[in-house]
């Protein structure tokens, strides 16, 4: 039996949020803004009443609309960390943490390295420090479930990478059922063992981050996980491969079986880039195009060639002398080419 189970419906402004989710360890719901992610957390925490369904922790019912059960938020064992952290501005760091529970304050201040800031007011803190205070405060209650709303979005890019690693370690050590919502697939994949893609109030696909990348259920999931998506028409061939005529006129091959209108899914890290037309490589698919952008991201470079985005190492980008406006060839293997029904 799952630690946290939620199965409910909630009418939102322009669509209905309908969710059935079991959370045992770390689960992330990822989706575009306005997909109803925050509403999921609000329903579980008891800040919003669903129209139908149940929410419960370890068999203890928190909401059961049909049986008229509604446990108020203060009687639920949840730790909710708000997107903007919602620290009490009129209290010190210590008072904020103690608001959740007085028993473990010193231990938590120590653990989150905010002991020196105990007397400071939230407005004097940096983004990363605020997040640590918010986490400490949520844990001070000894919650049975931890809910994190966009834990990394209030941070600048610089702090974000470091905080993500910290958060990963923290969640590993906590052994609490944890539900994270975020709009960033990379964050979700880094923090959670199970990721669900939430669009317009429904979960399109749920699985491990690897599963979502390897077998995206639909074009939306594919593009959300960072894949290239091209539209085309598929026909099976006699040799077991599938041939796809792309809308732009090119032809690509895939080992996936499909027929009719399909989305061709290729991940940027599966795309090789060259200046010459490679004829003796193992990659069956080759697309020529103009380089429209070259963006360095850390030790990698993201290159846009025609309709495709490829990721190569900074060293190879330099060797190839990739520059905007030039022509380049993108190649990728048929085994790395996923087909999803449109």
């Amino acid at each position: 039996m799952a630690a946290l189970s939620a199965d409910f419906r909630l009418a939102l402004r322009s669509f209905e949020l309908s969710l059935a989710l079991d959370v045992e360890r770390v689960v992330a719901l990822v989706g575009p803004s306005g997909a109803g992610k925050t509403s999921v957390l609000r329903v579980i925490a008891g800040l919003t009443r669903p129209q139908a369904g149940q929410v419960g922790l370890n068999g203890e019912p928190w909401v059961d609309v049909e049986r008229g059960v509604f446990v108020p938020p203060d009687a639920r064992s949840v730790g909710l960390v708000f997107q903007e952290y919602a620290l009490f501005p009129h209290m010190s760091v210590r008072q904020n943490v103690a608001f959740g529970g007085k028993r473990r304050v010193d231990e938590l201040l120590e653990r989150f390295r905010i002991g020196k800031l105990a007397g400071a007011r939230p407005r004097e803190l940096s983004g990363g420090e605020r997040q640590r205070v918010a986490l400490a405060r949520a844990l001070a209650r000894d919650p049975g479930v931890l809910l994190l709303d966009e834990p990394l979005s209030a941070l600048d890019t610089h702090t974000k990478a470091a905080v993500r690693v910290e958060l990963e370690e923290l969640l590993d050590g906590l052994e609490l059922p944890t539900l994270i919502v975020t709009h960033d697939y990379e964050d979700a994949a880094a923090l959670a063992e199970t990721v669900g893609v939430l669009v317009d109030g429904t979960v399109r696909q749920i699985g491990t981050p690897d599963e979502l990348v390897a077998r995206p259920a639909d074009p939306f999931v594919a593009s959300f996980t960072g894949a290239n998506l091209m539209r085309g028409h598929a026909e099976p061939m006699e040799n077991g491969l599938t041939i796809v005529w792309l809308e732009a006129g090119e032809v690509v091959y895939s080992t996936d079986e499909a027929r009719g209108a399909v989305g061709v899914v290729v991940y940027p890290w599966d795309v090789a880039v060259g200046r010459l037309q490679i004829t003796d490589g193992s990659a069956l698919n080759l697309l020529a195009g103009q380089v429209s952008s070259v963006v360095p991201i850390g030790n990698r470079v993201r290159v846009r060639i025609g309709p495709l985005t490829a990721e190569v190492t900074a060293a190879s980008a330099e060797k190839l002398e990739l520059a905007r406006g030039g022509t380049a060839y993108a190649s990728f293997k048929a085994t790395g080419t996923r087909l999803v029904p449109l």
């Binding site: 008891g46 909710l80 001070a140």
Partner: protein
């Protein structure tokens, strides 16, 4: 038009407006020398009026805070049908002519009024007593507090209230530890406004409570009475009220500038409806 002429016109208009606004106050303090002002204030009429004013205003203020704060909190945090109507009821005494407020109180609590027989049976006779003064100034002054308090509670970040609840605080603890302190600046400002209005109330009080020296005669009523008897004493009381009002205005500005958080900006604006 010439540029300098435009400038001169704006400057001239501003000077006239400022002088007009300040002139009555300046006149009060120049008419009687300060030394005599203090002497005049020892007049028993003044002392009685001051006691009545302070007593009634203090009781009224306590009632306004005690009943107005929960009302404002509910109107600020709950969304329900008829909320706009309730806010309009709260605001009504603000636009009501004071004489109408006075006659209304009479119609409600007077001997032949709505509750007249009930009050009579209990042996209570309200008109022309200190209770009547308190009721009159409470009615007229409370909208100023409640309106400001609604705006102050509405300005408290909802996430902070929600955070308090998820951290195990019930509605009462959330109110006292989070909503109330964060709305503090706005509440203090509203209280100061209501206090100033209560202290200066005239029309409703004279209708419902009369002007009995030592019983219902507040400072504004005493000024009105002394106006034809002893003008200098009336002026002295006027000066006293100016000083008190000025102190209130300054404390109000201070209360408004004290903001515990960047999300919470207490303002005097009307509540959203």
């Amino acid at each position: 038009m010439q540029r300098w002429l435009q400038g001169a016109l704006f400057f001239g208009a501003s000077v006239v407006a400022l002088l007009f606004l300040a002139l009555p106050v300046i006149a009060i303090f120049t008419r009687v020398p300060p030394g005599r002002l203090v002497h005049l204030l020892s007049n028993p009429v003044v002392r009685d009026a001051l006691v009545v004013s302070l007593k009634s205003t203090a009781i009224a203020e306590a009632l306004i805070l005690l009943f107005g704060t929960p009302l404002a909190y509910l109107l600020a945090t709950r969304r329900f049908h008829g909320r706009a109507l309730l806010i309009t009821i709260v605001e009504l005494p603000l636009v009501l002519p004071p004489a109408v407020a006075g006659i209304g109180l009479f119609a409600a609590f007077g001997r032949s009024g709505l509750f007249g027989s009930t009050l009579d049976a209990l042996g209570l006779d309200i008109p022309f007593t200190l209770t009547a003064v308190v009721l009159a100034i409470t009615l007229v002054a409370s909208p100023l507090y409640v309106r400001t308090a609604i705006a102050a509670f509405e300005a408290v970040d909802r996430d902070l209230v929600a955070a308090s609840r998820t951290l195990g605080a019930g509605p009462a603890r959330t109110f006292f530890r989070v909503a109330f302190p964060l709305a503090g600046g706005g509440l203090a400002a509203g209280a100061a406004l209501a206090f100033a209005r209560a202290l200066g109330e005239f029309g409703a009080t004279i209708m419902f409570a009369g002007s009995l020296r030592g019983v219902t005669q507040t400072l504004p009523l005493a000024i009105y009475e002394q106006f034809s008897l002893d003008f200098d004493t009336a002026i002295a009381m006027g000066a006293l009220l100016v000083v008190v009002s000025l102190a209130l205005l300054l404390s109000l500005k201070l209360a408004l500038s004290w903001q515990p958080s960047r999300q919470t900006s207490a303002s005097l604006s009307a509540p959203s409806s």
